[in-house]
Symmetry: none
Subunit: 199 residues, 2 copies
């Protein structure tokens, strides 16, 4: 899949938002239902008449009736405020995946490339064979580079439910991953865990 920049609209003026949406290459719209001027519903309708851009509807109202209305109008998903920024990100990712704009099974970090679909690890076109546990750990790290993961979090990535295994096991997996990727992508953060970072 071609690499691409994701563009989005986040605007406090309805007319301008519509104009931007229709006249630019936009991948996703996060739409607040309560805009000054036109309502979010009207914006959605106007945009949809012309272009079929994925839309995440954001609203303060929380009744089921509202949910149904919003989805019927054609928004691709619907969240009720207050909502954490992280949740919004998750929803947008899901929408973009559905629309085929991004591939969540693939992660690239520097010259490292992981693909869950084919269970493949490449480093500059050179294939690396990792075991399942090793792959899952590296994938989790690569999904959020620079973020520190505790051993417990990494255990969650390799055991489905709350199976109980020792923290030391993660150390061993990390050791083996490091040996297979010659360069040391994984940095240990003393007392906390591991992260994927070069510096």
């Amino acid at each position: 899949m071609k690499k691409r920049v994701l563009r989005y609209i986040l605007h406090d003026n309805a007319e301008k938002a519509i104009d931007l949406a229709l006249n630019n290459e936009i991948d996703c719209i996060i739409l607040d239902r309560m805009l000054p001027g036109l309502s979010g519903d009207e914006v959605l309708k106007k945009v949809r008449e012309i272009k079929n851009i994925p839309v995440l509807m954001l609203t303060a109202k929380g009744s089921d009736q509202d949910k149904i209305e919003g989805l019927l109008l054609g928004s691709d998903d619907y969240v009720v405020k207050p909502v954490t920024p992280y949740e919004v990100i998750l929803r947008v990712r899901a929408i973009l995946k559905r629309a085929g704009l991004i591939n969540l099974d693939k992660v690239i970090y520097k010259d490292l490339e992981l693909d869950r679909k084919y269970f493949l690890v490449k480093i500059k076109d050179e294939k690396i064979d990792l075991t399942k546990a090793e792959f899952e750990i590296l994938f989790k790290l690569a999904q959020n580079p620079k973020v520190v993961f505790t051993r417990e979090q990494l255990i969650d990535a390799i055991t489905p439910d709350g199976t109980i295994i020792s923290d030391r096991t993660i150390d061993t997996h990390i050791k083996n991953i490091r040996k297979k990727l010659k360069k040391d992508y994984i940095k240990t953060v003393f007392g906390l865990g591991y992260k994927l970072d070069s510096d």
Copy 2:
């Protein structure tokens, strides 16, 4: 996360409070259960019918039954009076964090930037490596710049429960932090402790 002013309601009249909550951009409500006029529970119910604003319930009743009631009605947290102002602040911060309105993991002071999520310290885009104890101390100082912290308070920041370690240990940590950040952000207040301040 965008910087923003936090707005709150603290009012002695239930009807006015409801009116204010519904017709203004409010981020959080601190609600006393015993209001003249309508009860706090009723206010909460009325507000929640329309808007989903985070609510901290404040009450004199202390039975478990009350706690359950309050939470069921939809308040996000619940404290029993008497309560210190500081505790209220802590609770509100926790609520706002949960609601995604503030990010407690990040602190910025002048050209100093701490991020707990990435366990990262930057000073004007230059990364600094701190140990866990050093990070916790600097984080606590940076969270409340200009506030003087005793060595005992700083010990609390690096030891989970009341582990007993010497005051001199803090001196050493401060020394090491100062060495790593070249500029001296930390000012010692003779006879009291340390604070983060330039003047």
